[in-house]
């Protein structure tokens, strides 16, 4: 029986950070300041406090999730992993209801080898059972029984309780030996 791997979307295969940074640079000319974002929580904390509400509002804008860039090497590595593992894309998308269809369409475009059977859009990941979970939010590991891997993102760089994957080449070394 194939081992099951749950793969998060935002900040693991979909590049929310660069989309926010691009928008911010165009609007305010500044860059993200990672120091405020390093202790978990949202990427939004990486922007000046006065602009955080506005940056967060991006997540509710139609088209935001549909147009996210793909994280480097995620397509190639997941295409191989999909042959050896039972892969589910599990995204805590329910807080952003406009993202639901957009995430589906985004996956169809960039990861056409995944079928709709493999997509899970949820609020909590507590009910999801698997051998592995690759996620940028350590909060999702709290109830997870399998082996968790923290996918590096600016907001989790101070987290040191979990095995870490810094990029998809490292994921390939772990999962595609």
């Amino acid at each position: 029986m194939q081992q099951r791997v749950l793969v998060d979307m935002d900040e693991v295969i979909a590049d929310v950070e660069s989309a926010m940074k691009r928008w911010y640079k165009q609007k305010y000319g500044g860059d993200m300041d990672y120091t405020g974002a390093l202790n978990g929580g949202s990427l939004v904390k990486g922007f000046p406090e006065a602009h955080q509400a506005e940056v967060r509002q991006l997540l509710f804008e139609p088209g935001f999730f549909r147009n996210l860039p793909v994280i480097e090497n995620s397509v190639e590595v997941l295409e191989q992993m999909n042959k050896q593992y039972e892969v589910f894309l599990v995204s805590a998308a329910m807080e952003f209801p406009n993202s639901l269809r957009e995430k589906y369409d985004w996956l169809q475009e960039h990861f056409p080898f995944f079928t709709w059977h493999q997509i899970v859009l949820c609020g909590s990941k507590k009910m999801a059972q698997a051998d592995f979970l690759i996620d940028d939010h350590a909060k999702h590991f709290q109830y997870f029984n399998g082996k968790p891997y923290l996918f590096s993102a600016p907001h989790n760089l101070n987290e040191n309780q979990f095995a870490r994957i810094n990029n998809w080449k490292e994921a390939a070394e772990i999962f595609l030996k």
Copy 2:
């Protein structure tokens, strides 16, 4: 710790059957013939073969899932269950991508006591782990480790491998003792 209950949507809390029947009666003047639908699979099989493709197309129509009637007593019983159990609404909605946002909005309207944390829209339910699963499709029980309850629907009346719940009053007797 609260026990976890997964509750399916279509044909368990959302009345797909009556919506299909209403549409069919208006268009063709006929009724559903249950005999063809009794051995699992889709409710669509309850309509004359010549019209099945057209009935199935309803599932892809914008607004279809948003406007489904609520199954009798499901609101009252689930509101109580929600106080005693960890309830997740788990719907294999991914085959019908237009239904994703509609199911979210439908739940907000009819089951406002559920939060977005409790909604799971997926393709397969294989990764979902719980103590109980209430579903009208026995196929979802194949990989389920908890106790499954088959919620009666025309397409599953010949299925006799599983404990059955015929309506939400019976569910209340089981879960709200």
